[in-house]
């Protein structure tokens, strides 16, 4: 199969998926999983910008996701006449400001220390939000119960969500692809490949990393907002919890961090898998899901850090040589 046709086939399949499953018995369920899958791909692709391309492994990205999820719902709670949708750009702005705020002091820290810092900041924010009544404290906040118009983005079927998310994913990947081929993209790769050498060539390291974080934050917040619109609800655990951050990373890493389609591939495998284990094992399912997650991450880290795309590349090279 020619490499050029694969993305086209992929997008075609994604476009047709909800329609294709609509005749099956569990159509609604599949479509819901599909929507969640696309959303996870958006979030992971957003993380990928700073964690994959820039090589700064942020484990606190939930902070941006949470900003995107909370701000629209808070706006709605304060001014119920407004649709939560107007909160989306505001959530993005908040996330970008947070990114600017934490990026500057954090990028001084190296490697593991940076990651630890991101966890700390995210956890702190989660704790503060958990105790802040305006934001719903530990209970969380809700959006409109019934739709007053299409702009409230409340649909009974998952299909509209699916297509909205797909559109946002396409946009995110288009932006990332453009970035890959630009000076910014080259500079990010250079920083990841060798910071000192990059500096010598005039690469403004800190400024570039900061830009990457801010761009990543903006996309992550968008994913968070979409989540809030679909679910109509967010609480500190679902919006700012560490598992939110971890899922973004695993999804991106499984497919291949630092590649364009890696996060989507990761989502295509992990989200259905997660749904499957949740349904098979019933109540205890989510615990086993995480055992599975943990196992996958460890195996990935140990044997194939480049993710499935890297594995595919190596295998197809071997097949090509054998032929």
């Amino acid at each position: 199969m020619s490499a050029r046709w694969t993305p086209i086939a992929l997008w075609a399949a994604l476009l047709l998926f909800p329609i294709a499953v609509s005749t099956t018995d569990s159509a609604a369920f599949y479509q819901d999983v599909g929507a969640n899958l696309i959303l996870a791909a958006i979030a992971a692709s957003a993380w990928n910008i700073v964690g994959g391309y820039a090589g700064q492994v942020s484990v606190g990205h939930a902070i941006f996701f949470g900003a995107g999820a909370y701000v629209p719902l808070v706006i709605y709670n304060l001014w119920p006449a407004l649709p939560p949708l107007v909160g989306l750009p505001l959530g993005v702005v908040v996330a970008v400001l947070i990114a600017a705020g934490i990026g500057v002091p954090s990028f001084r820290l190296q490697g593991h220390y940076f990651s630890m810092a991101t966890i700390a900041v995210a956890e702190l924010v989660r704790l503060v939000v958990s105790n802040w009544d305006l934001l719903g404290a530990a209970i969380g906040i809700q959006g409109p119960a019934t739709p007053r118009g299409w702009w409230d983005l409340i649909f009974r079927s998952s299909v509209p969500y699916y297509y909205i998310f797909l559109g946002v994913l396409a946009l995110t990947l288009a932006i990332t692809s453009g970035m890959e081929r630009s000076r910014f993209g080259y500079y990010l790769r250079a920083i990841r490949a060798g910071e000192r050498a990059a500096r010598r060539l005039g690469v403004p390291v800190r400024r570039t990393q900061l830009k990457a974080l801010m761009l990543s934050a903006a996309h992550t917040a968008t994913a968070g907002s979409l989540y809030a619109f679909k679910l109509g609800f967010v609480n500190p655990e679902s919006g700012l919890g560490i598992l939110v951050s971890v899922q973004m990373i695993i999804v991106a890493a499984l497919g291949g961090a630092g590649t364009l389609y890696g996060p989507l591939i990761g989502a295509l495998i992990l989200i259905p898998l997660q749904s499957a284990t949740n349904t098979w094992f019933g109540g205890g399912g989510s615990g086993l899901t995480f055992i599975l997650y943990g196992g996958i991450i460890v195996i990935l880290a140990r044997f194939e850090p480049g993710g499935l795309l890297e594995l595919w590349r190596r295998l197809s090279a071997r097949v090509a040589r054998a032929a």
Partner: protein, 284 residues
């Protein structure tokens, strides 16, 4: 009097923090590596104590059992996982112990369930009244033992031949190799020691506090704060910082309530990271 109570409580808890944080900072100093599963090692130590009670072993067995079990686990984790990811990209290094943490935590949930447990009564149960304040016997013993062990670790590292070999690898790997020291072996040993310090701290904590698999995450963050405050790679720093955090935590819990105590500790954490990342005694 209450203040003294809080002080003593903080000191004792701080000693335990100092113990398991020393293990974390040892690895960090040696290999520039943060073990994100360290909290789970502490948690496992707690459950080793529980399992000991199932086979009717007395509290005196908890410590040694946890030490041995976690030491072995630490060495295995190094040989099977860490050694290999060290040569790889940053992402896989961080993912490796993260994945391990998830694996350990949720396996514990699956096997032991999520209920909080306490250990059955033993000769450790009960309180002592000393000069107007009341301290649990277990609490006192746990703190004292932890303090001694932390000190012992420091002495081991600085005064023994083995310790100097470990520190040599931390200081300069290639130079250490030239002196005939095998970095691989030393690193495996360090992981064993680190895990053991966490395990025994867990066993000690289990005699005082109720526990469940979820506490691993809290201890991990505590360990991070202590290590950040004490300084990169500095065991004496971790000891001082451990006591400090123990005191701050108890004081905050007393004056602001248990909810805000966490906010204070993490707020302090973020402040350290940004204002003085090298901590009190470390060098960045």
């Amino acid at each position: 009097m209450i203040l003294l109570q809080v002080l003593v409580g903080g000191l004792l808890l701080g000693a335990v923090y100092a113990l398991f944080a020393s293990g974390l900072t040892l690895i960090w100093g040696m290999m520039n590596f943060i073990n994100f599963a360290h909290g789970e090692f502490v948690m496992l130590g707690m459950y080793v104590a529980l399992v000991m009670t199932w086979i009717h072993a007395g509290p005196a067995a908890f410590g040694p059992a946890a030490t041995v079990a976690l030491f072995l686990l630490g060495v295995l984790v190094y040989l099977g996982l860490i050694k290999h990811v060290m040569r790889g990209p940053m992402l896989s290094q961080i993912l490796s112990t993260f994945g391990l943490a998830l694996l350990l935590r949720y396996s514990a949930f699956a096997y032991f369930k999520s209920d909080f447990r306490t250990l059955p009564d033993s000769w450790l149960t009960g309180t002592l009244g000393v000069g107007g304040i009341y301290i649990g016997k277990a609490q006192l013993l746990a703190g004292a033992i932890a303090g001694l062990l932390a000190l012992g670790m420091h002495l081991l590292l600085t005064r023994s031949a083995l310790g100097s070999r470990l520190l040599a690898v931390a200081e300069d790997r290639s130079a250490a190799m030239l002196m005939g020291i095998r970095p691989d072996r030393m690193q495996a040993l360090a992981w064993g020691l680190s895990a053991a310090s966490a395990g025994i701290a867990g066993a000690l904590l289990a005699t005082v506090y109720p526990f469940s698999p979820e506490v691993g995450q809290t201890f991990a963050l505590t360990a991070f704060v202590v290590v950040a405050l004490g300084g990169f790679g500095s065991v004496p720093g971790a000891m001082i910082a451990g006591i400090a955090i123990g005191l701050i935590e108890q004081a905050a819990a007393y004056s602001l309530g248990p909810i805000y105590k966490d906010v204070v500790v993490y707020g302090l954490f973020v402040a350290i990271l940004w204002v003085r990342p090298q901590g009190l005694l470390g060098k960045l």
